[in-house]
Amino acid sequence: MPHKCTQCGREFKEGSTEILKGCPSCGGKKFFYIKKDDIHKDILEEKSIKKIAEEKKEEIIEIKPEAKEKTEIYDRIESIRVVSPGSYELNIDKLAKGDEMIMQMGTDDKYIVDILSMAKPRKDKKKRK
């Protein structure tokens, strides 16, 4: 008999091995058998998600995709980001502005702040022509 995910309603063929690792759509671990005739019933009857939820007496859980990081490299605080050993992202604007070094390690918010580089006195710069 075909299976159906209790969480999202996705249907699977009889004996489908996909469900062994959980529903590929929602990760749900519970499935129930459905009659062969009932397969695609929800879709054929054009049931809305709301209606299915009402029938199952469950709340609709919406999984929103994680918002993508929008900070452009030039807006970031760090001069150099060490993504992984041997892989770097450089903020040339920051590097051009001063010797102050802030490094970010990995993609987490872990920073190394080189205080020495910031404590250097600013040189009295004459404007070149």
Partner: protein
């Protein structure tokens, strides 16, 4: 290491101040593999007979800024300038050792290369801030000039009021499109050359005398 370099730089600055020798220091900037070292070598070889550094097709071959002092460039009319040529590492926003693996470099070596290249970019930006009086901005005319690094870096150079000549390099290649570079940077003189073949470098020398002199 950087302490040593800084001390050395301070020293040379003092010595320069003592002798009051004012030379334009021209930095050759641009993205990796644009042909910066090839052009530096050509300029230096044409006018002094020396070379600046090795070139290769692998990006980030130049990972330390290299300098050749007192290069005198002159034209037929007797005009001349004496400049220091500074060949800089290619400026980019992302360096990943994996891109070197494609060129057959071992992983350990590629990781070291990436680290040195990162240092090199930081160093190039440091030079731009302190020691450069004029810029030759190299672009590979077979590539899209509208990448963010170019716009950004040219913007930084402009904000420092440095004179800049833009070079559309590699005009010996069939898919070179120097026109694209001209339209990307209409505010600066653009000269189409081939650093490798030497096409049109005379025009560049004339422009350098006119522009940096």
């Amino acid at each position: 290491m950087s302490f040593l370099i800084r001390t050395k730089k301070k020293f040379s600055r003092v010595i320069r101040a003592l002798f009051k020798k004012k030379q334009m220091r021209i930095g050759i900037y641009g993205p990796p593999n644009a042909g910066k070292t090839t052009l530096s070598n050509r300029i230096v070889r044409d006018w002094t007979g020396d070379a600046v550094g090795p070139v290769s097709e692998i990006p980030h071959e130049t990972r330390r800024a290299r300098r050749k002092e007192g290069v005198k460039i002159s034209d037929e009319n007797g005009n001349s300038i004496t400049i220091d040529v500074v060949d800089t590492p290619g400026v980019t926003t992302k360096i990943d050792y994996k891109e070197f693996l494609e060129y057959g470099i071992e992983q350990d070596e590629a990781i070291i290369r990436a680290r040195e290249a990162t240092e090199g970019v930081a160093e190039a930006m440091h030079w731009l801030r302190e020691d450069i009086d004029g810029v030759i901005y190299m672009l590979d005319s077979t590539q899209d000039p509208f990448i963010q690094v170019n716009i950004m870096l040219v913007g930084i150079i402009e904000s420092r009021d440095l004179p800049v000549i833009i070079i559309a390099n590699k005009n010996d290649l069939p898919d070179a499109a120097p026109g694209r570079i001209k339209s990307a940077f209409p505010q600066h003189p653009v000269i189409s050359i081939s650093g490798l073949e030497g096409n049109n470098v005379e025009e560049l020398y004339e422009k350098m005398i006119e522009y940096f002199g």
